[in-house]
Symmetry: C2
């Protein structure tokens, strides 16, 4: 199957590209590739087609869409914090160009669209474990526009009969996550340790998150490759709620160095609790079990440290 | 209380302005007022402040917002049919300027926002009578952006602590409804009768709608004036489902003239069934009963005929 992965050189996208290659698919990656270099996919350069371009650029997107069967949309130009002060950013940077991508995909005969939505923000305040049937109450511009993009996929499905899968992903973490971003607390903390800064901890023992390893996300998202006609929306989290203080304890025990940290109240833009029931999706993978924080934070830390020291002396921007 | 009614000279807005005046509120109307003339509010010109302006124009909107306690947002630059072919219209014409209005309202100290949403499109395909707790599945760009605007009100509420009420209105009808629009089947049919054209009927005996008289909508929307601190979302329909063929029968018996009509299949952009449970709202009005189609289509037809003949000979555009 010919799959285009838009944003495929990013954190989550790159893990998905690897999974799709493992399954023998014909993968094209649309991403920026500055200086003709991949951030995360240099090691598979010979197995995929790199398509450098800007998500906003219609012509570049159209070129990449040619003859594709399925398009995975991993691009997010923002994060929950950036648009909290200026909500229009979500509309201008994410919503409009996502619709443009879907329109161009329809025009180019693509059979299926796959969108990476946000389990952490589309539901808004909820109690307990969240299924896909819960009434979403998003309140951050980030989550509002993610949900709006999901609904536009309903439109393209009804109007143009293109299939669409949606994955509402929990709190992703893993080796390739950017440490400079305001999103992804585990990576952000690792960055701070490397720079000798104090950790910032927002929230308390009532602030639950569902941390999911990037490789697990990528593996489960291969489900969409199995049937080009089926459309559905899936939660993508482990179902295990971990409080921010529990996470801190796991983190501190892994790092095993003296580390300063400061605890602040939960930010207004964050939900108190996000725990996702993903059984609708995992039913298709009877052998699958989620990888655990206690195993994967050490692995992530080992990767990050090695990457920071840098075999090639390259400045990693930390 | 000082209330600004944005789009207050339109069909639904004008009925609301009358209700707010009846209750003794200090009403300002922001609308286009071409040639300094109101479409629907000339008869109350001495009781309200007219504020001519374009919804898209920040400066004009800001001027109207000064010292207002509550803002009712009745503007819709589109209808479900216009954006079915070009979904970006919703974002450019409705979503962006609605957010702009809310931002400016926050900056100008407004205490409460009230938004006219669409019970007919935000829910998408559903069976039976719909409460506010039903999971919305919008698929028309019109409904998608209405729901997105609702969610942005959550944002402004969380971020800036401004109160917000949302009314998801059923199929409105009544004397002042434009007959040229592609929306509002009763008015559209009346326009066709006046022009001697055949009626177009989309749908069948399974196509149910919840027709609600404009005056009832306006009356129930005064609820938001009772408490500037409360926020909620309310359905606003009668709870009576009427099939399009039933509606045709009622209509034909009222008009009482030989009328041609053509029946077509339901359009792709239309839901099969919309019947709204409004008990959450009507609880606040224990004496209230909905006016019925059988009484109000004749009244609407009488108004429309008189208006068409025109006491002042003015071209009504039909």
């Amino acid at each position: 199957m010919k799959a285009l992965v838009v944003g495929g050189d990013g954190f989550l996208g790159s893990y998905f590209v690897e999974q799709a290659l493992n399954l023998g698919h014909d993968v094209t990656v649309f991403d920026r590739f500055p200086y003709d270099r991949a951030n995360n996919l240099e090691h598979v350069r010979n197995k995929v087609r790199f398509f450098p371009g800007e998500f906003a650029n219609r012509v570049e997107v159209v070129n990449a869409l040619e003859e594709q069967d399925i398009v995975y949309h991993f691009i997010s130009a923002t994060n929950p914090a950036t648009s909290w002060e200026n909500p229009s950013i979500e509309i201008e940077e994410n919503l409009k160009y996502s619709i443009q991508l879907f329109e161009l995909a329809v025009q180019n005969g693509v059979k299926k669209l796959v969108f990476v939505s946000s389990g952490g923000t589309v539901y808004g305040p909820q109690n307990g474990i969240i299924t896909e049937e819960v009434l979403p109450k998003p309140f951050s511009p980030y989550g509002i526009c993610k949900l709006s993009i999901e609904h536009f996929l309903n439109y393209f499905h009804e109007r143009h009969h293109i299939a669409a899968d949606i994955y509402r992903v929990g709190n992703a973490y893993g080796p390739r996550q950017p440490m400079q971003a305001p999103q992804g607390v585990i990576a952000v903390w690792m960055g701070k340790v490397l720079r000798g800064e104090a950790l910032t901890v927002y929230g308390d023992s009532d602030t639950y998150r569902d941390y999911i390893y990037a490789e697990d996300i990528a593996y489960l998202m291969t489900h969409s490759l199995s049937d080009l006609k089926k459309s559905d929306v899936y939660n993508l989290g482990t179902g295990r709620g971990v409080s921010i203080l529990e996470l801190l304890n796991i983190f501190l025990s892994v790092i095993n160095e003296p580390i300063q940290y400061q605890i602040f109240p939960r930010r207004g833009l964050d939900n108190s609790s996000v725990i996702l029931d993903s059984s609708k999706l995992t039913t298709f993978f009877p052998e699958f079990t989620f990888q655990q924080l206690e195993d994967k934070i050490p692995e992530t830390w080992a990767y990050v440290r090695q990457h920071h020291i840098g075999n090639d002396g390259k400045d990693t921007g930390i």
